[in-house]
């Protein structure tokens, strides 16, 4: 019924702000959706780990989700732990599909955009895997349930759960395919880049207890970028000592700090606190001192006083992966080299003494403790607990004491795997975790 000119008249889009993504410019802008791509990481891991403790008053006024996560209680109302990674995955899928459809444009740019989205898609699948699947173990990865791998934007296609093996293989192969098209340059730290991808692969392989590959990728990462901040040269007394995307950051990924763990509520674990030496600059740089002598955390690499935590890739983590893997594979010299490179930037200059431990077991122990001390509030402790619990030597039972109640999380306990959001179980019949 409509004439051609009418149709043309009506084809004008109703809002300048509303459009179907169709151009490379749209894609570029979508990739800069920092809040939904970089800062969409769940904060469940820190909340369920043992770096911080809270008192009962603060716990009681926390939200149901935070409280249950903190106390390792069953909960299928996991909200953003599940939804925000899948939202980032949806955006990545839209970007990838849009790039495929765009005609013309420079091929290398298109490939780069495609690879960036592909990287994000893999990263968020991994963030889901660390929460909703059992830790990777060679023995059972083929049968343990993975997460649904969402590889199209089509809202009518809902995948079922894969296996842990499939999940990890998918994540690794996606990053490997993205890698060649990503920038080597890391001046724009919020964009997926090559060094960050190597670092991320290194992190994943470490979680899989594959030390050879973890070390290999740590090397690749550090080859591109290895700058460390010398804490001797910063004003550690500042309320917010570190800026976002500072010199150590390779890839900027953020999570909001759980409201329960804000610096005046989340107190640093006393055992952990005691493990810092007197001359360790991380104490003034990382911690606030409350009037009641408890300490909160201020050392986020996010430039924020409290509300945002950095969970992306930074050089310090990669140094420690390199050190750990070397130690585990008996390359003590190498392990000591990387450990001391890091520590020399953390301890007061004139008091610094190199670690010289040559016993591989003891050295590993030192490195693992340094890992805790350095990577507090990075969301990494959770994965460390999950992997180290597979090793008899490092198994530990977590405890929370609140008033007269004691809560425990046993190694390999069911609550090391979060329950899947109830809507996905209801709507699509996903198999629920125990």
């Amino acid at each position: 019924m409509l004439c051609v000119s009418c149709e043309k008249y009506l084809n004008e889009k109703p809002s300048a702000k509303i459009a179907t993504p169709s151009t490379l410019e749209d894609v570029q802008l979508l990739l800069k959706d920092y809040a939904r791509l970089n800062a969409a990481h769940p904060n469940a891991a820190e909340l369920a780990s043992d770096n911080f403790y809270v008192n009962i008053q603060n716990l009681n006024s926390a939200s149901e989700r935070e409280r249950k996560t903190y106390l390792w209680q069953e909960n299928d109302e996991v909200g953003p732990f599940w939804t925000s990674p899948y939202r980032a995955i949806f955006i990545s899928n839209i970007i990838m599909e849009t790039v495929e459809k765009v005609e013309g444009g420079e091929e290398s740019i298109k490939k780069n955009y495609y690879a960036q989205a592909r990287f994000w898609r893999a990263l968020y699948h991994y963030s889901l895997a660390t929460l909703f699947c059992k830790p990777y173990s060679k023995e059972s990865a083929e049968t343990d349930l993975g997460i649904p791998l969402k590889i199209t934007a089509d809202i009518n296609l809902i995948p079922q759960r894969s296996t842990v093996m499939e999940t990890y293989e998918f994540i690794i192969s996606e990053i490997q395919q993205a890698l060649p098209h990503l920038d080597t340059d890391i001046t724009v730290k919020y964009q997926p880049n090559r060094a960050g991808s190597y670092g991320f692969l290194s992190r994943i392989y470490l979680a899989m207890n594959d030390y050879t590959k973890a070390e290999l990728y740590a090397d690749s990462c550090l080859q591109i970028y290895s700058t460390l901040i010398d804490y001797n040269e910063i004003n550690t007394s500042q309320n917010v000592p570190f800026q976002a995307r500072n010199a150590e950051v390779i890839l900027d990924v953020q999570a909001s700090v759980a409201s329960l763990l804000h610096r005046n509520r989340g107190h640093v674990d006393t055992f952990l606190l005691k493990s810092y030496s007197e001359n360790d600059l991380r104490v003034p740089a990382f911690f606030t001192l409350n009037a009641d002598k408890t300490r909160g955390f201020k050392g986020h690499y996010s430039g924020s006083s409290s509300a945002i935590q950095f969970v992306g890739i930074a050089t310090d983590e990669i140094y420690l992966i390199k050190a750990e893997c070397s130690a585990r594979m008996g390359k003590t010299d190498l392990a000591l080299k990387y450990l001391n490179l890091l520590l020399s930037k953390r301890i007061k200059k004139d008091t610094f003494v190199e670690v010289a431990e040559t016993d591989p077991v003891k050295l590993l122990h030192i490195i693992l403790l340094e890992r805790r001390k350095e990577l507090i509030a990075r969301g990494l402790r959770w994965t460390d607990l999950r992997r180290l619990n597979q090793d008899e030597k490092y198994k530990e039972t977590l405890k929370r004491k609140l008033g007269s109640d004691i809560y425990e999380l046993l190694p390999g306990g069911d609550r090391y795997v979060f329950k899947i959001i109830k809507e996905s179980v209801e709507f699509s019949g996903l198999t629920q975790n125990p």
Partner: protein, 1069 residues
Amino acid sequence: MNNLKLCSLILSIFLLQFSVSNSFAQTGRIRIWGEVKDAQSSQFIEGVSIKLKKSLSQTQTDAQGSYYLLLRYPVDTIIFSKVGFQEVAIEVKDAMELPLIVQMKSSNVLIDEVIIESGLQRIPKERATGSYEFIDSATWNQRIGKDVISRIDGLVSGLQTNKQNPADPTLEIRGISSLGYESMKPLIILDNFPYEGRLESLNPNDVESISILKDAAASSIWGARAGNGVIVIKSKAASKGERVSTNFTINSTVSPRPNLFTANHMSVDSYIEMEKFLYEKGYYSSRFNMNNGQVIPQVAELLESNRLGLISEQDLNKELARLEQVDYRDDFQKYLYQPSINQQYFSTVSGSNKTHSYIISAGYDDGKEHLQGNQNKRFNLRADNAIRFSENLSIDLGIRLALQTSQNNSPGGYGNYPRISGYNSLASENNTPVPLDIHYRGIFTDTIGQGKLLDWKYRPLDELRLSDNENKLKDVIINFGVNYKWDFGLAALVKIQQQFGENQLRQIHHKDSYFARNLINTFSQEQNGSIHYIIPIGGIKNTINNYNSANNIRAQLEFNNTYGDHQINSLIGAEVRESKRESLSDIKYGYDSEKLTHVNIDPTTMYPSLYNLFGYSYIPYGSNSNKFLNRFISVFGNAAYTYKSRYTVTGSIRKDASNLFGVNTNQKWNPLWSLGGLWHLAKEPYFNIPSVNKFSLRATYGYSGNIPVNATALTQIDYYGQNNSAINQNYATIAMGPNPTLRWETVKTINFGVDFDLFKNSRITGSIEYYRKESTDIFNSTRLDPIVGMTIQPKNSASMKGYGTDVNLSVNILQKVIKWNSHLLFSYSDYKVTKNLNPPSVTGIASSGTSLFPLENYHPYLLVSYRWAGLNPLNGNPRGYLNNEISEDYYQMQSNSIEDQVIHGPAISPYFGALRNNIGWKKWNLTVGINYKFGHYFRKPTLNYTSLFQYGDSNGNQEYENRWRKEGDEKYTDVPAQIFPSDSRRDNFYAYSEINVQKADYIRLNEIRLQYQWIPQNTKSLKSIVCYTYIDNMNVFVWNANKWKIDPENIKGYRRPVTYSVGIQLNLQ
């Protein structure tokens, strides 16, 4: 317009006894005689000029209103005319029943014979099959409200003002047909075209009449935007007489300072008690831990100082005793509120002659609100011209201008200061503003920067003085129309309307304002002992400019003619319409309002905050812009056929296409249409009940549509400016997945109506209507598996059904010396959701009815509660039922199914109406308006410990004083005990329990108007003077069902004060 003339003819003729006999016996000059009466008062009219059209003879009525004249031709037309009355023309034949009694109607007052404006055509009610309501000028002008919405409430049946959100009352015509707050609003037509501007910018004094189109037959001509009814506002038209007619209206409305103590809030003693309790429980301890922490209430600071030994026990008690004497409501009332005053000035000049008719109107409104510093002014100007070049050709030319300025300088009324406690004073004894801490502790703001920073205290009274916030609204509408008619009844017309609107919001935070000082301090840096300001010291100016424009072009062909007993009125037309909205915003720093200069800042660098206390951030900046464009192409047609003035059938059809929809929807030929029939039973020759003057039956069936606001068929990505980004980059985000099947919501209506006019002099008139309607494809959210990346997606997915009755009954109780007319409006409107793919359930099935709560098979504004099992006698916890067992498990009870809950009913009244009485005696006229609503419920505000502890201020419910304290209290109170930590679920459970809901039924006396009209006899120019007083918002309850004596329409906050008005109106000619 041909039918225009026809309409006015039919309108003006109102014969009591007029029938044509079959006798042709007499010929030649015969005598016609009779009387002329005022149709409203039934008084005889003197001095009516009576002319015979062919024979050109003329006469006048005498003091008794009687006349006689001689007829020279067998058929002729008598014209009755008098200034101030509508002309009446009657065809006379040589044989007719005498006397010929003519009723003339005042040209200002239209009574029951009305012409409905549909915006596309004028339809005499005599031929209207659909459901229309009409507010005439007399009724409209009885009210003095400064905007259209406040005047319309309670004047017509079927229309209800939803006051759930007192700040934004919305009109509902026969309930709602959509489930979106924007899309459920009725379509507003101003004269000929949809009105895109703000309703507040229309001057209600410039309104001649309001027509409300309720059913599909009435509204389907507006197609895909009419599903929630249409309100047609008709502006005042040019007066008929040759002489210039001038009118002046002046009125003034005052309302006393509100009484803040009527808001049922906590006493100051209770505040202190609560803060002591919180202090003892350690609520503030984490804040005391931080030297840059959140502000801590004064009482807690005093207790801490005492604990630390900084002040003695004695000083503490002395200070606490001093605070108990203060009540900040006194200060608020005194310093931040004032009596409100609103003044209206309005004038029209109009006239017409053979070639030209015109009206020019100007209005000025000036008002001061209850909050000091808030005021608004409105200026309206309108000029409408009709120029007739010949019998066939005429043009219309009009321009309308509205300028509105409002100042919003109040720092906020009572209840807007979450960080101020009840014992804080705003001013010291000599009226000096008292400094308060609202973000940071006093200990922090006092010492930081060693006095080198800008002062960091907040003083509400200074803010009032320092604010300069202005909202300017401009609205211009230009109309042009060409009209050509042929003698055989065909007319062609083209109408063009352009509308431009601009709304400029300007906020200047003076350099001494808290906003500016706070931001400047936050970004300050100490360098070698001196302060370096990153944000320049000076004012901060925010501007937001909104522009809107709408272009309309409509071409229309009309055919109206009568062939013997057959009458045809029809039109076809096409319309193209485009509306645009655009907004731009901007921030300027270091602004100097005198020199109009500003300082550039660097928005791309991240700056550390003062001593790096709050991390790094960008300086808030960035211009934000927004653009919207809606386009419609529509074709429509409408026809009515009337046989013997007794039977009418009507039909209409309309097709819309829009850029909001996908190509699929636009291309589908799926028009909205309606059919209707009307039968004037009393005009049948066999109908012979003398007391029945009119008895008509109507029936219609049809479809109208509704467009979901902001929906589009495309995948939506929203573009954002860098100021919204943590990395200071422009970006885009996916706002909504694609929706290729998006289409308009469809509303099907079937309507039956009866109109009647009974007994001599139309003693009883009225109408009864019954309708059923069904809305399908309602745009509503549907839930998705979150794996897809979104948790909800709106789609055309929901349905609703409704039915109801509208009754209008007007009784002239007394018609002699005292004239007493009583008009009763009654409406019944029930509707329910029949399909909803996203039922509310997340936080439990409990609602307060203040927002949409669309459960399938229930009213969309349903009130649902938890069952109440009383307070636990041991600990004062509220208790409900879980699986029929008494329970305190508030979390589990959230999952109670609807069967376990108490369903009260709707929060919107299904039975409502008004009774308006007009009593006239000589020159006096008294109007008394009573409103009533029945069958609905409301939930009262309750004590919520969580928000009280967190925010204080307006959350402090008086219930605090009645709370459970010890065993046995549960016998007298239902208010839960104070616990720490508070449990928001417990608070919620209590708030949403059945005990806090009661019937909202009421009958209230709301308005009284007394008028004195003086019509001077001996002056030529002065036609009348009307003086009046008017009292509104009286809220005198004749009946109020709830035992708490809460006004169900003023549940929260202080009681609205009564408004008193006086006014005068001069009519000159």
